[in-house]
Subunit: 419 residues, 2 copies
C-alpha cells in the first residue's frame, strides 16, 4: 500500500560509534507525514562490497532507497563510483554543479582545492538534485524500477535536499490507502501497568489499528496506527479509541499529539499565563536546553541560574552559607532554597531546581553517585523529591532532567484550578 522505503547510511563513523545516526530519524519522521513508510535502515561501511550487497538487498525490499553519506571530497568516499558500476552507468562532470561548487568557495574567499572537482561528478543518465547549501549534489537514479536517491550525510545539506527535492517528488507517488497515527503522551505510570489498565480497550482494536507502547524514562507514549481506504472513517475510529484511552489513564494523561513532554508542559503553562525559570546544579543547563528547544518557549520561560559553584548558589540564589555548610549542596534544604531563590531572583511563578551528584566521581558511602534532589517552587510553596540513579553521568543528567519536568508537570497539574 504505502511506498516502501529503505534508508542506507554509508560511513565508518557510525559503525565505529563516532557519531549517532540522527539523519535517519529525521528522514523517517518527514516521510511518515507523506504516508511513506520506512521498512529498514541499514548502516554500512564505505567499502565497495558492502555498498553493492546493501544495494542488492534493498532492491528486493524497497521501491525507494535513500542513500546518505559517502559524497564528500576526500579519499574515503567511494559511494558514487561504486553506485555507477552497480547501475551499469558512468560518471560525468556536471558543469553547472562545478560552477556552483566553485562559487561556494569564492563566496568564502577561499580557493577551491582540486579534489572538490570530483563533487561535480554525476551519473550520466541520472538526475541532479541541486544542493544550494553545500558542495555535494543530490542524485536521483532509477535502477530496475527502484529509485535510488543519494544525498550528503551532513545533516543540514541532507535536510535541504530532502525538503526541496525528495519529499515533494515522493509525495506524488499516490498511495491507494491512508496511514494515520494518534499519539497519547502519558507520564508517571509504567508500561506494564498502563498496558494492564487498558487491556480491554486494546483487545477491542480492529485488525487495521495497532497500538504501540513507546516508553522512555518516566514517560510512555502510546501510538495508535491505523490503515484504511477512507481517511475520515479511519480518523473517527482513531479519535474514539484515543479518547477512551485518555479517560482510562486519567491522571497519567499529559497530552494528545506527537509532542515532547516539555512542549506539552509549556503549552499548558502558556495557556494559563504562567512563567517559569530554573536553577540547575547537577543538570548543568540540560533542563533549560530541553525547554528552550521548543519554539516560542520564551513566552513562558524566562531563564536560569546555573550554579555549579557554591558561591553562585549563595550570591545569586540566596542559599545560606549555614545551610550549605550544615547539609551540603546535595540536600533537601539547599535544593529548596535554590528553587525559592530562582523564583525570586528571576521573578517567575514556578521555578525548578536540581542538585546532585551526576558522577562518575565524587560519590561517598553516604552520598553515592546518582543521588539527586529536585525541587519545584510555586505560588503555593516548595516541594522537593529525592532520586537515586546509577553511575553513568549522561544518563543521570538525562533522568534528572526528565524527572524535573515530570515533577513540575505534577505540581502545575495539581494546582490547575487554584492558581
Amino acid at each position: 500500500m504505502a511506498t516502501k522505503i529503505e534508508i542506507i547510511t554509508i560511513g565508518d563513523e557510525i559503525l565505529q560509534g563516532q557519531i549517532v545516526d540522527t539523519n535517519s530519524a529525521w528522514m523517517a519522521q518527514q516521510l511518515l507525514q507523506f504516508h511513506l513508510s520506512v521498512v529498514q535502515i541499514t548502516t554500512i561501511a564505505d567499502r565497495q562490497e558492502a555498498i553493492v550487497e546493501a544495494f542488492e538487498q534493498a532492491q528486493t525490499r524497497a521501491e525507494v532507497v535513500l542513500v546518505t553519506g559517502g559524497l564528500g571530497p576526500t579519499k574515503d568516499d567511494i559511494t558514487k563510483k561504486t553506485a555507477a558500476e552497480y547501475f551499469g552507468t558512468s560518471l560525468v562532470r556536471d558543469q553547472k554543479v562545478l560552477e556552483h561548487v566553485r562559487s561556494i568557495f569564492s563566496k568564502r574567499n577561499r580557493e577551491m582545492p582540486a579534489i572538490n572537482e570530483m563533487q561535480a561528478d554525476v551519473f550520466s543518465d541520472g538526475e541532479v538534485l541541486f544542493n544550494a547549501v553545500g558542495t555535494a549534489p543530490g542524485l536521483w537514479f532509477k535502477h530496475k524500477d527502484v529509485v535510488f536517491i543519494f544525498m550528503p550525510g551532513v545533516p543540514f545539506e541532507m535536510k535541504y535536499i530532502m525538503s526541496e527535492h525528495v519529499l515533494p517528488r515522493l509525495s506524488e507517488r499516490t498511495s491507494t490507502g491512508f496511514i494515520e497515527n494518534r499519539y497519547i503522551l502519558t507520564a508517571g505510570v509504567g508500561e506494564s501497568h498502563l498496558a494492564t489498565s487498558i487491556a480491554d480497550i486494546e483487545a477491542e482494536l480492529p485488525e487495521h489499528i495497532r497500538l504501540a507502547y513507546l516508553p522512555k524514562l518516566g514517560i510512555v507514549r502510546l501510538r495508535l496506527t491505523g490503515t484504511g481506504s477512507d481517511a475520515s472513517v479511519l480518523n473517527k475510529e482513531l479519535e474514539e479509541f484515543a479518547q477512551r484511552i485518555k479517560t482510562r489513564v486519567d491522571d497519567a494523561f499529559v497530552s494528545f499529539g506527537n509532542v515532547e513532554m516539555e512542549s506539552a508542559l509549556l503549552s499548558q503553562m502558556a495557556s494559563r499565563k504562567l512563567t517559569l525559570a530554573t536553577a540547575e546544579s547537577c543538570t548543568g543547563g540540560n533542563i533549560a536546553a530541553r525547554i528552550t528547544s521548543v519554539p516560542g518557549s520564551g513566552d513562558v520561560y524566562k531563564g536560569s541560574i546555573i550554579s555549579y559553584a557554591n558561591e553562585i548558589k549563595m550570591n545569586l540564589l540566596s542559599v545560606s552559607e549555614t545551610d550549605l555548610a550544615a547539609y551540603g549542596p546535595v540536600s533537601e534544604p539547599v535544593v529548596k532554597a535554590m528553587a525559592i531563590g530562582a523564583r525570586t531572583a528571576l521573578n517567575v511563578d514556578y521555578a525548578v531546581a536540581t542538585s546532585g551528584l551526576a558522577g562518575p566521581d565524587g560519590g561517598t558511602e553516604d552520598l553515592p553517585v546518582g543521588t539527586i534532589w529536585i525541587a519545584v517552587a510555586s505560588p503555593k510553596g516548595v516541594l522537593a523529591r529525592l532520586f537515586h540513579f546509577h553511575n553513568d553521568r549522561a544518563i543521570n543528567i538525562e533522568r534528572a532532567t526528565t524527572n524535573s519536568l515530570l515533577l513540575l508537570w505534577e505540581v502545575v497539574r495539581d494546582q490547575n484550578s487554584t492558581v
Copy 2:
C-alpha cells in the same frame, strides 16, 4: 581478522523517527575497544517477516549478531517468539528470571501485571544473561556457528548486559591481529583544505593505515586506523603519522585523542587553572549542557546565567536598558555587555555569551532568523563575532553552541602564553 559483528535493532519507533538510535553508537564504541568491528547496523520493524529476513542475511555476514529491542512485556513485541521459530527451538519459562521480575515489582511496592510473566520466557537450549537492572533478561543463542545475543532496547539495561556479560565474553574471542586508532581533533579549517594541506602525508600512508575525515560543523576529526600483527610497531607508525599531521595543520590542531571539543577545551583551561562561565540567550543552556557533560567540568566551569528575558539581562548581567533599547538584544553591544556582565557576576577568567534569533519565528528583514552574536570576555577584553545561520531552530542552537566553543578556544589559545 577481527570478529565481524552485526547489530540488529528492532522497533517501529526508530523506523518512524520517534527515537534516535543511540544504542548502536554506544555498542560500536565499546566493541571497538575490544577490537571487535561492527560491519553493519540494521534497523527493522517488529514484524515476523522482517525479523526472519534480517536474521538470515546477518547470518551470512557476521559471526556475532547483537539484537536489541523487542523484549518488552506489551503486545507489540514479538522478537523472542520469532527467534525461537527461526532457531528451531522453543521458549520455556525460567523460574529464576521470573523470581527476579517479581522482586523488581515488589521492591517498588507494585503488583506485577500478568503480562510481565512472559518476560521470563527464554530459549530452552540457550543461555540467560541476567539483567539486574530491569525485567527483560538478555539471551545468548548459537545458531549454525553464529552467536545471536538478545538485549532489551532500554539504553541502561542494554548497557548493563553489554558490560556485565557480552563484552567480557566477546573479548575472549582472540583475534589474530590488532586494530588501532589515532584521532586528531582540528577546528576552524574545512575538510577540503585540510585534505589538500596534508595530501602528501596521506599519499605516503601504507596500505594497512587508512585516514578518515569526520567533519562536523567547524570541527574536523581525523582518524588514522591501522591494522597489523605487532601492536607496538603499529602504534609507533600511527604515532609518527599523527605527529606529522599535527605539525602540518598547525593552528588548527586542538587535541589528540577521541575527545569532544568541550573536553579538550576544559583540559587546556584546567591545566592553566582558568575558570569559565556562560551567559546564554538564544542557546538557552546548550553551551552549559555541553560543557557540564564532561566529568570534572566543575573544576573550570562555575555556572551560567541564562537570560531569555531582557529583564534578566539587565538585573543579573548588568546590561544597560539604554543599550537594549538602542540596539536591541541581538546586537554587538548587548552580547559584549552580557559576556562582561557574566565574567563579573560569576567571578571567572573567561565568559562566553550568546544572543540571537534561533527561530523559526521572530525574524525581520533587518534581523532574519539565524542571526546570532557570540562574545567572549577575557582578562584582555571582549571579542564578539556575528554569525548568520538558517531556519531550523535545533540546528541554529547547535551551530551557535559549537561556534561559541570554537571562539572561546581561539581566544584561550591566542592568550596561551600571556594570561
